[in-house]
Structures are given as structure tokens and as C-alpha cells.
Amino acid sequence: MANPLEQFEVVRAVPIEIAGIDASITNASIWMLIVVTSMTLFLVGGMRRRALVPGRWQSMVELSYEFVANMVRENVGTGGRAYFPFVFTLFMFILGANVTGLIPGAFTVTSHLAVTFAFAALIFLGVIVIGFARHGLKFLTLFVAPGTPAAFLALIVPLEVISFCTRPITHSVRLFANMTAGHILLKVFGGFIVSLGAAGGVLAAVGIFPLVFNVALTALELLVAVIQAYVFAILTCVYLNDAVNLSH
């Protein structure tokens, strides 16, 4: 049976090294570019007619735009307008990576902690920079929930700081783990189908069960792909809200 972890292997197609940095073109980088290209084609192509009454494609594009715009407006408020292009790009990139990753044989960009953590760390640092830039040292009151009795401050503040600092970890691991687990499960059951089919006879007939399971699991994984992109984007909005509005 094929190793279910093989699908996550990064293979260097064209080794490149610039100024001591390994910038090799790998299957991961190729799939990142595929994601960028396909999502750009989807979003720009849908608007090619700029129709007043949108067709199906244009409706999907407008729906994506309004979905993210509403998400930012509801979670960050009007102060979040400046970050809308970033949240939109982030959501579309992760959605594209999650969904294209489901194509059999594809590499899932978001199944790598390096990628998801890079996003989470960027957001974490961005929140700190925006928070201090907007509120100065008052940003530190984020760790003091209003109405906390003074006696508890010694306990609450370190907890708040810890919970704040673990954000990039939970933020990135949630996406990475969901993608990795789903793909491993698909691969394991795919392996069962092949092994049972190869065994022949009664066992081949039993192979129908993992096949049915895999079909259902593929549908579930498609749902997970969309939901996890949404979760990642909405958490980004929630964290941005802290920086922009200093709310608890």
C-alpha cells in the first residue's frame, strides 16, 4: 500500500539558490502558482463583461466579494475597510489551495504547517503593529478585560497574554491539521480500494465499501475545504478587530 504521507512530500523540480536562500521550484510552488492563476482567472474572467445584470459566473465573483466584504464589515466594522483586500486575497488563496488540493494527484499547499504558520504569523505580527500604531500603549489594555476585579488581574493578565500568543499556533494548526487529516484519510481508504481490488474474488466485492466511503468523504472534504478557508478568514477578522477597535 502506498504511503499516505507521500502526497505531502515536497519535490524539487528545479533547484534554485539565490544569495544562499533555497528558492527551488517545487511541486508546492507550482501548485501555489496554479492556485493564484486559477483564482485570478475566476475573479477577473467573471468580471470581463462588467454586466449590469450579472450572469452566473459574474454572480459567483460578486458573491465572493460581498461574502468577504460582509465578513470584514460585521467583524471589524468600518475601520476594517483598509484590510479588506488582504482578507479577500487570503480567503481566496486558502479557498483555492484547499479546493484544488482535492483534485486527485494534486499537492495541497495548505497542508503544510510552514505555509499556514506563515499566514498566521503574518496576521499575528500585523495585529500587533496595527494595534500599537492605532492605539499606542493603550493597546496593552487588550489584556485587561473590563470589569476584572483588581485582585484577579495578576491571574487574568498572564492568561490573556498566553491566549494572545498562542493565537498563531491555533490559527495555523487548525487549517494544517484539517487538510492533512482529510487527505490522509482519503489516501488510506483509497489504498484499501486498490488492495481489495487487487486481491480479487470476494475481497474485490468488499472493496465497494471503502469506495462508497471515499465518495462521501470527498464531499465532506470539499465542505471542510470551504469551511476551513472561511474559519481562517473570519479568525483573521476577529484578530484584526482587536487591533482596530481594541475590543474584547
Partner: protein, 167 residues
Amino acid sequence: MPQFDPNVIEPQLVWLVISFGLFYFLMARLALPRISGVLQERVERVADDLDQAEVLKRESDEVREAREATLAEARAAAARKVAEATARARADAEASLAALDAKLAQETATATARIAEEQAAARREIDRVAAEGCREIVKKLVGEAVAASVTHKAVEDAVASLRRGEA
């Protein structure tokens, strides 16, 4: 797990920066302005159309009111004319009926008078013929002429008694 292989982190990060940077640029400069432009245009267009519809509605309301006023006026004028014509026609008809009535009454009166006259004349003639006959008969029977006034009186008496018997 291949995810925890430190060798593959660097190229992934490099290409993530490149591809995400490119994607951000494409979104911020190309896709998003286009989408928001179309959405904005639609909002404006819908607002414009609603305004225009409001103006047109007001205009059509005015036109309808004017039309209704004209119609009511025309209807009133028509009703007035019909009433006048009816009254005139009725007066004419009554006048000519009265004239006809009068003429008929006069003709009836004339005719009645003439009938009465003719009747009287006829009766007188009958009386005279009867008296004449009576005188002839008397002359033949008696052989002597009787005065016409006598026979005339006898005939008249006889006729009168006959009439009484009839009545």
C-alpha cells in the same frame, strides 16, 4: 511527516511570498477595483432608475388627473346638451299634440253639427213626403183635398206617438 522536514520550509516560504504577493497585487489592482466598480455602478444605476421612475410616475399622475378633469367636463357638457334637446323635443311634441287635438275637436264639432243638420233635414223631408202621401190617400178616400197643414200635423202626431211607443 514531510511537513516537518526542515529542508522544505525555505523554498515554500520563498514561493509563498512570491505567489501570495503576486495574488495580492492582482487582487488589489485588477480584480477588486473592477468588482467594486461594477457593484457601485449598479447601486447608482438602480438609484437613478428609481428616481426616474418616480419622476415619470408623477408626470403620468398629472396627465391622468388632467384627462379625468377634461373627461368630467365633457361629460357634464354632453349631459347638459342632452337635457336641453330632450326638453325642446318634449315642448315641440306637446305643442303639436295640442294643435292636433284642437283641430280634431273642431272637425268633430263641424261634422257633428252637419250630421245633426242633415238628420233634421232628412226628418223634415220624410215628414213632408209622409204628409204628402197622407193627403193623397185622404183625397182618394174622401175625394176632397185636405189642407196640407192638417195632414202635416197628423203625421207629426203619429210619428211622435210611435217614438214614444219605441221608447
